[in-house]
């Protein structure tokens, strides 16, 4: 028994050593990447680009469900983006409130016949509208079918070769689309490109735009600011260099429409539709030996509200983990499969054994250490040292994300915000991380549960968030 506990402890130690070494690799790779991206972002001549008709036309997909109160402001904000050639397709997914009436009233809609083919099957369309006042706007009214189904309906209706899905409650910075198209202007073979999603809680929002970026005072949203910085500024930048970005945020990602159509659009039954879409995109393009890139670029920014209550946060994280487990299981054929190149050999294994299994291993580690301590097999200093190292490493990664933010984009100008960022990076490991592990662990036991249709995020609203 003692041998078993000792061996298990050693195995856990090696697991975390390997996992953390990989994180260290991502960390190192993120340095040249953010440097290059920052240089390109700083040297871009936006005036010249804005005047150029070279920018690829974009269809912005806006799925909406029961957004009666906010839909007019959201769509108006999207219609004022600094981009020359785009259209906005809003999908009213059988809302139970007056979302469609609000749109009809605000934008003077008139019905037009549906003339495009239903390339991706969706729930029946009730009507299609254009606006007399805003020619960039198309509104689809359809039976309720969930977010993925709505996005598919919008993709069918879109005219342009690039599509970007935007949540009705996400604030896109005015020049974000322009920045997001940079890889296309650099002539790269882009299949999809993602931008940064930042936390809007605590920020000052006026007329649908973040005018003053602040770090919230609350512990929960504050730690999520650090989490988002870590996920975007070094996680995804590091993956750029490894060629295997598996996640392009559903709240802010630009895709080539022909590729999305080729893989059948969003999967209506998937739990996390953005992860599922990108994995399928990789699988499709790799199996057909198409040369492509799915990069992340950090300077285009969209702001989103994050949960401020443990209950909502737990639900969100559990759903993300369920989505990850489902995706890994569904696409297990890609695991260690050289046919899928670096995606099959590095990205998918990392997400399977690093991201997906980490909560299981961590809880198992806590358990076995407790048993070992009780039986006297593991001595107390060793256990404390182990925990110290594990938490210290977490702090290092979070602080590194803060460093990257500080040396590159510096959205948080006030010293108070910086202090809070550092503080939250330190505090994350004390309680929050363990809660996260528990929520993610619960996902394994609720896999057969309800399917995701629309997120059930409880929002305070942007304009009220700072009051």
């Amino acid at each position: 028994m003692n041998e078993l506990i000792r061996d298990a402890n050693l195995a856990i130690l090696f697991y975390f050593l390997a996992l953390n070494s990989f994180y260290a690799l991502l960390l190192v790779l993120s340095i040249p990447e953010i440097w290059e991206q920052t240089r390109l972002a700083e040297d871009e001549d936006f005036q010249r680009l804005m005047q150029s008709d070279a920018l690829p036309p974009i269809t912005i997909l806006v799925p909406a469900y029961n957004e009666q109160k906010t839909i007019e402001a959201s769509v108006t904000a999207i219609l004022t983006l600094h981009y020359r050639n785009y259209e906005v397709v809003v999908v009213n997914d059988g809302s139970k409130d007056e979302t469609l009436e609000a749109l009809r009233h605000a934008f003077d809609l008139y019905e037009i016949p549906r003339t495009y083919p239903e390339t991706i099957p969706t729930k029946p369309l009730r009507a299609l509208y254009r606006s007399r006042t805003r020619t960039k706007l198309v509104v689809i009214d359809k039976d309720n079918g969930g977010k993925a189904d709505s996005l598919n309906a919008a993709i069918n209706a879109g005219r342009f070769p690039l599509v970007i899905a935007v949540d009705a409650d996400t604030l896109i910075e005015p020049d974000a689309l322009l920045r997001l198209t940079r890889p296309f202007l650099l002539g790269r073979r882009i299949a999809a490109v993602g931008g940064t999603v930042r936390v809007a809680n605590g920020c000052v929002v006026k007329h649908g735009q973040v005018t003053d970026a602040r770090v919230p005072h609350g512990l929960l949203p504050g730690i999520q600011v650090v989490e988002y910085l870590r996920a975007f500024l070094f996680g995804r930048l590091g993956w750029n260099r490894l060629g295997g970005n598996l996640i392009i945020s559903g709240a802010f990602g630009l895709f080539r429409k022909d590729h999305v159509l080729a893989i059948g659009g969003y999967h209506p039954t998937s739990i996390v539709e953005d992860l599922d879409l990108v994995v399928r995109l990789h699988r499709y393009l790799r199996s057909r030996k198409v040369r492509y890139e799915i990069p992340f670029i950090p300077d285009p920014v969209a702001w989103t509200e994050v949960p401020e209550s443990l209950r909502v946060l737990a639900r969100q994280r559990e759903r993300w983990q369920r989505g990850l487990v489902a995706a890994v299981w569904q696409y297990r054929g890609m695991l260690f499969n050289p046919r899928y190149g670096r995606v099959g050999l590095i990205a998918v294994p990392f997400y399977a054994f690093g991201e997906m299994l980490a909560p299981l291993v961590e809880v198992f580690g806590y358990g076995i250490t407790a048993v070992g301590l009780a039986l006297g097999v593991v001595n107390v200093p060793f256990a404390l040292l182990f925990i110290l190292v594990a938490w210290g490493y977490g702090m290092l990664l979070s602080l590194w994300a803060v460093v990257l933010e500080e040396v590159s984009f510096r959205r948080y100008r006030r010293s108070g915000d910086l202090v809070r960022l550092v503080l939250f990076a330190m505090l994350e490991n004390f309680g929050y991380r363990q809660c996260g592990v528990w929520w993610r662990l619960r996902a394994f036991f609720s896999m057969g549960g309800r399917k995701h249709v629309w997120g059930e995020m409880t929002r305070r609203g942007f304009e009220t968030a700072t009051k």
């Binding site: 040297d43 010249r48 070279a54 690829p56 008139y110 020619t135 650099l186 040292l385 190292v389």
Partner: protein, 353 residues
Amino acid sequence: MTARHFLAVVALVQGVLLAALLMLIVLNRWFRLRRRARVHPRRLAVEGVMQRWALGQADVRVVLAQLARLPVSLAVDAIVSWSARVPGDRWRQLASALEREWWARMVRSNSNSARWWKRLETARFLSVAATPADTARVLKLLRDPHPAVHIAAVATLERVENAALATAALERLPHLAPTVSAYYAGMLRRSRAVVVQLLLTRLARADDPALARLAEFAARLQEPALREALTALARHRDPEVRTQVARALGAFPHPASIAALTPLAADARWPVRAQAARSLGMLADPVSLPLLRAALRDPDWWVRMRTGLALTRFGPSGRNALLDAEVGADQNARDMARLVLGLSPQALAEFAA
């Protein structure tokens, strides 16, 4: 070494790294604040003096003196942002004065740098401050392997008319990704005389694989001298070439354009028909009214839409055609006529743009 020793070493290293990162954060912010405090007044001074110079109230030497006080990258940023706000002749005066500045010479010499960001800085600088003496340098930057560099370099054509540069850019244009190619096209429009001659030669080669791209570019130029070359391509086997020709001919009000557009309006491919309808609307010749009346019954919605919009450009006769279609026998034409007649003037203008 036991596992415990190993962990102790790792913990120690982590502690040192944590402290180093905290120091880095603090020092970085401190340095930035200090740098900003030092540089910001100089930037404001450059803004002020540039403004006075642009209004003719300051001497160019004062501008040069203030620019030299800025870090080089900020000086380049300043002149790039001001280049769009100062009239051409006056700007050329500054560009030639910059040739003698030490920092501008340094930026120029970076065109041979092994580091792409240095070459990018040079390309940005030359895009607004190149003189005839910089031709070889810009040519080299136009052939740069880093896309950001050659894209910045091609912007030089906005200000410098030079046959060698225009030829190099046009040669590269069809081989670039569509977005980059469109950007090049935008820049090449300024060197019209050279480009038109080159295009006439290239468009005459019917088997040129880059023909669709070149026809697209020719369409953007709207140059009357290219009309004949474009009408000659109206029966080209590549539908993309026909689409571009159909699009281009709308800019040439000439009977030959109508004659070339007539078969294109009945093309087997809907994008060709849609562009032909749009162009016929732009030309608004009453001869093409019957053709457009018929096109309003096209099986493709976009062709009908473009036709409906085209008819609105014919004045009362086009409106009558739409009113007739609104009560006509064809359901598709009825729906489209109703839709177009219901559009606001603003919507019509936006569709036409």
